[in-house]
């Protein structure tokens, strides 16, 4: 049992490192592609080792702690960010029967843990003793707390349809078609809201107010350097991966291959593609969409950001949940 846990722990850390490297290089390549330039192309074959080189650089850099900072909180904040990201990894099903912990309240667990993320950002912003950091942290607090509601409500739509909080149950329920196809309009609406809300929750552009470069220099991580900065950086990418994985699991069937109702022959052909490829394919597609947002949209202003949530997304998702519940009770879905 203990050995199993150690192996799982090492595997998660390994996955973290690998994901961080892959996502950073992917982000830079996507950015370069959108921005009509080449992107990293010097280190390793086609620049694939660029993020590894960057990591080494960050590792050997001095991790400075400002004089006026609250030393304990300042140094502790990046670890909380990292721990939250790691904890979120537990209930995710990477492939068929490949899951760290298949708990019966998987979805609840994810929504609960992901809201701890804001604590690390507030902590970092407060402890830095820097006005930019503080403002970034306050913005981030307001933003994450509000968008959590929409994200939660859009996840609830799927829970209502499936009737279970268990990740495996949700995936198996999509064996005859993904929710995005089966669930009619309510699921499509909640999918769109989910993508918007998680983009905001992970502090990615166009909702990157917490680090708004042109306004707050770097927001809550202005004072961080070296590996402590790298942990925030890594946590951001891991979070992007996790929210996309959750989106893929809930709306696009997770590892479940593309099935259409009872077309047995077609479904069996689809089953030949390994389930892990389905999972990662869907996840990376969503990651690409979020990166696409980042490199095309301008940033919102703080009041517009909150308006969007409280005046539009929240009422829509509440009504949508009501609609979905009615449909689930009446059985109006495939």
């Amino acid at each position: 049992m203990i050995i199993e846990m150690v192996i799982a722990g090492i595997a998660v850390i390994g996955l973290f490192a690998a994901l961080g490297l892959v996502l950073v290089i992917m982000e830079r390549r996507v950015a370069a592609w959108i921005q009509i330039r080449l992107g990293p192309n010097r280190v390793g074959p086609k620049g694939m080792l660029q993020s590894l080189a960057d990591t080494v650089k960050l590792l050997v850099k001095e991790g400075m702690t400002p004089n006026g900072a609250d030393k304990f909180l300042f140094n502790f904040a990046p670890f909380i960010a990292m721990m939250v990201a790691m904890l979120l990894m537990a209930p995710i099903a990477f492939a068929k029967d490949f899951q760290l912990w298949d708990m019966n309240i998987g979805v609840l667990y994810i929504t609960a843990i992901s809201s701890i993320m804001v604590i690390s950002i507030l902590m970092a912003g407060w402890a830095s003793n820097n006005k930019y950091s503080l403002m970034g942290a306050m913005r981030s607090g307001a933003q994450i707390v509000s968008y959590e509601l929409s994200a939660g409500l859009s996840i609830l739509t799927i829970v209502v349809f499936t009737g279970s909080l268990n990740i495996t149950d949700i995936i198996t329920a999509q064996a005859d078609g993904w929710w995005i196809f089966k669930g009619h309009i309510p699921v499509i609406i909640s999918f769109v809201i989910f993508i918007i809300a998680v983009t905001a929750e992970t502090n990615r552009a166009p909702f990157d107010l917490a680090e708004a470069e042109s306004e707050l220099t770097a927001g809550f991580h202005t004072e961080y350097s070296g590996m402590k900065f790298a942990l925030f950086f890594l946590a951001e990418y891991i979070n992007v991966f996790i929210v996309c994985a959750i989106g893929a699991t809930l709306f696009l069937g997770g590892w479940m291959p593309f099935h259409i109702g009872h077309w047995e022959a077609f479904n069996q052909v689809m089953d030949y593609i390994p389930s892990s490829i389905w999972f990662f394919g869907k996840t990376f597609f969503l990651i690409f969409v979020i990166m696409w947002f980042r490199w095309t949209f301008p940033r919102l202003r703080i009041d517009q950001l909150l308006n969007l949530e409280w005046k539009y997304l929240l009422p829509i998702s509440m009504f949508n949940l009501l609609l979905a519940t009615a449909m689930a009770i009446l059985g109006w879905h495939f």
């Binding site: 403002m135 913005r139 166009p206 708004a212 042109s214 490199w295 301008p298 940033r299 703080i302």
Partner: protein, 371 residues
């Protein structure tokens, strides 16, 4: 205690934007008084790159001082040079050959497009969209190449001399400019697709940084920033110089008085600049590119004031001559300095995020403010 946490006695947060800050595009230093995210006061502190060009020019001859001015508003280097060249020509009553005048106007307009493109990219980056910057630089690069071929430099060109131009055009000039016109007309629509029509962008710009027409005049806000408030102040139309009276173009006026209006003025102005270049590029008259001048230029005793329209607004060059080979006193009325003075008025009561939109649409170039 208050000093320690950086608040004033009313508990407002005092925050320094700059001298090194990603949104100021240079070493501008703004001291903001904030109540939460709302701006109560903006106080610019200048001088981080003040080189005292006015004082330097007092010991430079009339041939030399023109080139220092390239370093003022480095994005409209040609136009600054043009203003100085006109002042000297006015004083000496030099007749500039038609060919030189036409080339000067083409160069000025190319500079204006290049400057507006850089502004467009940088402003979008301030708002948080990074991609436009690269798209803008792609086309700007073409202008820089054209400039490099003819002038030998890409940013501080130093191409104008009193009485004309330093050298004749590169043989490829007309061909390259025509290619650029075709390319640019396609790309300007792409700009609109990428930024102008974006709902987030419009929300960020509309109603932000309001500056009424009366205030714009009172603060001396000129150029596209003033025209965004509906003030007709295009020197090219009002007091035409070179061959601007012979070409057809529109003075762009918007009445929105906000950041979006200032943005639209610049976008539309780029199209007008293309129009001017199109009219002139096939009609560059043959002849000398430089008038015959003496080796040593001496201006008669008196005062000479020249106004030109740079990419940022009205540049005034005020030369006071005592009859010698160097100016006795020279004053550059730079557009950025006056435009910046209106920032406090515009910013009060708006959010911190709006400040970057305002600074972006005022198109501040710090060496132009500091001189």
């Amino acid at each position: 205690m208050f000093e320690e946490i950086g608040t004033n006695t009313e508990g407002d947060l005092i925050i320094n934007v700059g001298p090194q800050h990603p949104a100021t595009h240079g070493v501008l230093h703004l001291v903001l008084t904030l109540n939460g995210e709302t701006i109560k006061k903006v106080e610019p502190h200048l001088g981080y790159i003040h080189r005292s060009i006015e004082k330097m020019c007092e010991s430079l001859t009339y041939r030399q001082f023109i080139y220092v001015t390239s370093r003022m508003d480095y994005l409209s280097a040609h136009i600054n040079n043009h203003a100085c060249a006109i002042s000297v020509e006015k004083g000496m009553q030099l007749e500039v050959p038609e060919r030189a005048q036409v080339i000067r106007v083409i160069m000025d307009e190319l500079t204006r497009i290049a400057s507006h493109e850089l502004w467009w990219g940088a402003m979008a980056m301030d708002i948080g969209a990074f991609t436009p910057f690269f798209h803008a630089f792609r086309e700007r690069e073409k202008i820089n190449e054209i400039m490099e071929e003819t002038c030998g430099a890409r940013l501080t060109m130093n191409y104008y001399v009193p009485g004309g131009l330093m050298a004749d055009l590169h043989p490829d000039f007309q061909k390259k400019v025509k290619e650029f016109i075709i390319l640019f007309k396609k790309k300007i629509d792409e700009y609109d697709e990428l930024v102008t029509g974006n709902i987030i962008f419009i929300n960020r710009m509309k109603g932000v940084g309001l500056l009424s027409k009366e205030d714009a005049v009172s603060f001396g806000v000129t150029g596209p920033a003033g025209r965004g408030s509906g003030v007709s102040n295009d020197i090219r139309k009002l007091y035409p110089y070179a061959v601007y009276d012979k070409v057809q173009f529109e003075e762009i006026l918007e009445t929105g008085c906000d950041s979006l209006a200032r943005y639209m003025v610049r976008i539309r102005e780029m199209k007008q600049s293309i129009l001017i270049i199109e009219q002139l590029i096939d009609n560059i008259p043959e002849g000398d590119f430089q008038a015959k001048t003496k080796a040593v230029l001496k201006l008669p005793k008196g005062e000479f004031y020249t106004r030109v329209e740079t990419a940022r607004g009205e540049l005034g060059v005020y030369i006071v001559s005592e009859g010698g080979t160097t100016p006795y006193r020279i004053k550059f009325r730079s557009p950025g300095f006056s435009n910046l003075s209106a920032l406090d008025k515009m910013a009060r009561g708006s959010k911190l995020g709006d400040l970057v939109a305002m600074m972006g649409t005022l198109d501040l170039v710090i060496p132009d403010i500091d001189r």
